[in-house]
Amino acid sequence: MNYGVRLSHFAYLGGRNVYSFGDAPLGEMKPLTDITVAESGEIIEDFLNFEPRFSLKVDLDKSSSFKASYNRTAQYIHLLSNTTASTPVDIWTPATNNIKPAMADQVAVGYFRNFKENKYEFSGELYYKTMDNLIDYIDGADLILNEFVEGQILEGQGRAYGAELMVKKTEGRFSGWLSYTLARSERLVEGVNNNEWYPSRFDQTHNLSLTTFYELTDRMTLSANFVYNSGTPTTFANSGYYQQGYFIPNNDNNARNNVRIPDYHRLDLSLTIDPKPGNRKWKGQWVFGIYNIYSRRNPFSIYFRQNPERVAASQAVNTEAIRLSVIGNFIPSISYNFTFK
């Protein structure tokens, strides 16, 4: 058994403007009421949090065990992002006088077992996590280089739960592991999505990964790697309407994260040739590989747009959803690794 507690302290320091905001109807921008200047070194706001943790491991017999854990964590930095891709424009904001630090409580239980004289390892885990003071933004927020972005932020709560399974074969000519996670991550924010739970941008239902190695000879190893991830959600306009010939996207019920990015999957193969044994000054290893062997066009991001053409009054405006793939083809590779003695 293991337990402990961490005391964390975060201070939002001066040398900057401090903004105060008034009240606004839910989901609308809060009006700026005051700007004061905090001197450098002055503490504008500080937070003190206890972060207890606890874990327990019970050996059931020689080859199996049971684990349980609980922990609470505080995070003093928040990610604000509206794109589905990880782009250089991810915006981070610290906890401030307007934004509380995020708090998370997680409980997990797991079962571990080895089979056939430790040739196979199996593990299964279940977790449940609740989060408070998560942030989201109002519809139509202006997130980039906006000094007053705190007035467009909403606080809410989140929950994430799932199951993780893993099987691993460690010995023999054929080895590898298979892992699978079934998960859900959701948020509830007043003023977003009709005040109903919605999937967070990290929500990935299935996540499967298979990695295998097969030793052809003492020096040659064939390996294969397959990954499959469900698409994460993003927000698209669900309806549209005409106004003076313009076709205007609209989001009924302020839906958030209502569209799934297509699933991601990929198979890579490689052949590794190790050096001949012997006492040489350097050792070289060849690796021949093919990445994304079946040329899957995996999405980096998706977005929607309308045709920019000039339309006549009796003509419909055309719209489409676009998938952007960064690597839409297979990539062969040859690499040579060497070490000097």
């Binding site: 509206n82 669900n238 106004q243 313009y246 009924d252 747009r305 405006v317 959803a321 793939s325």
Partner: protein, 298 residues
Amino acid sequence: MNQFKSKYILPLLFLSTVFYISCEDTIEVDNGFETPQIVVDAWINNTIDETQSISLSFSQDYFDNRLPDPITDASVVVSTETNTFEFVHTSNGTYNWTPPSGERIGDVGETFTLEIQYDGQTLTSTTTLNRVPEIDSISIYFEDQPFGGDEGLFAELYARDLIGKGDTYWVKGFRNDTLLNRPQELNIIYDATFDAGTEIDGSTFIRPLRFAINALDDDGLPRNLDPGEKVGAEIHSISNEAFRFLQIVQEQTTNGDNSIFALPVANSKGNVFKENGDRVLGVFNVAAISKMEKIVEE
């Protein structure tokens, strides 16, 4: 050294030859569209003798790529303190009212109320007819750096914002009588600039807005004019609500250009309401218009 080259350079070259192939494809997505909503398209003006139209339709799935379903059996009435104007359905969801000869719907400063009866519901909206400045001139000149387009003849619209803050206008450009209606060509003005909060008032429209009466090509670049072509411009006075509405329209309809850096989805907020206070899609605006045309000379 020679040995080093032959043994390592070739594999290193192979290694660095990485085929990065990025591509864009059109895909099908399910956006969860459920219920069509009533849409009110009521942008009218007080031009003398001009027939005024209001259109009623339903919203549709964003990806339907079709014209909307019309609402043909509503009653549409616009009224002022002293007059009532009945708009009569003509075809395909369009309701018309034609002023008696030599007359118009009202004057600057008057308040107008729109009332629509449809399917047991009453939709209403109120707006004021705002003032509009005269167009001073359309100037045609040779420009060698036209915001990314090819050099040539271009037009600029000269008009001076009226003194007093909060005037909002929608400038429509025409080329050979064709309305410039690409989303990228939408040109709205707050006092003489893009938006409120600039301290600029009562001055000539700033240059990007003057220049925005030029047509754009498929690449979004300004297209130059040929001698003999006709340039037209209209300034419509719009309410501040209509300006905010069009500002979001402008942002959202051109958002695809931003691809992965797209702005969050935002709804344009109209000014038509149901009896229970719920907002209906669309806008009611009554504009005063000033216009000018010019033929490009040799």
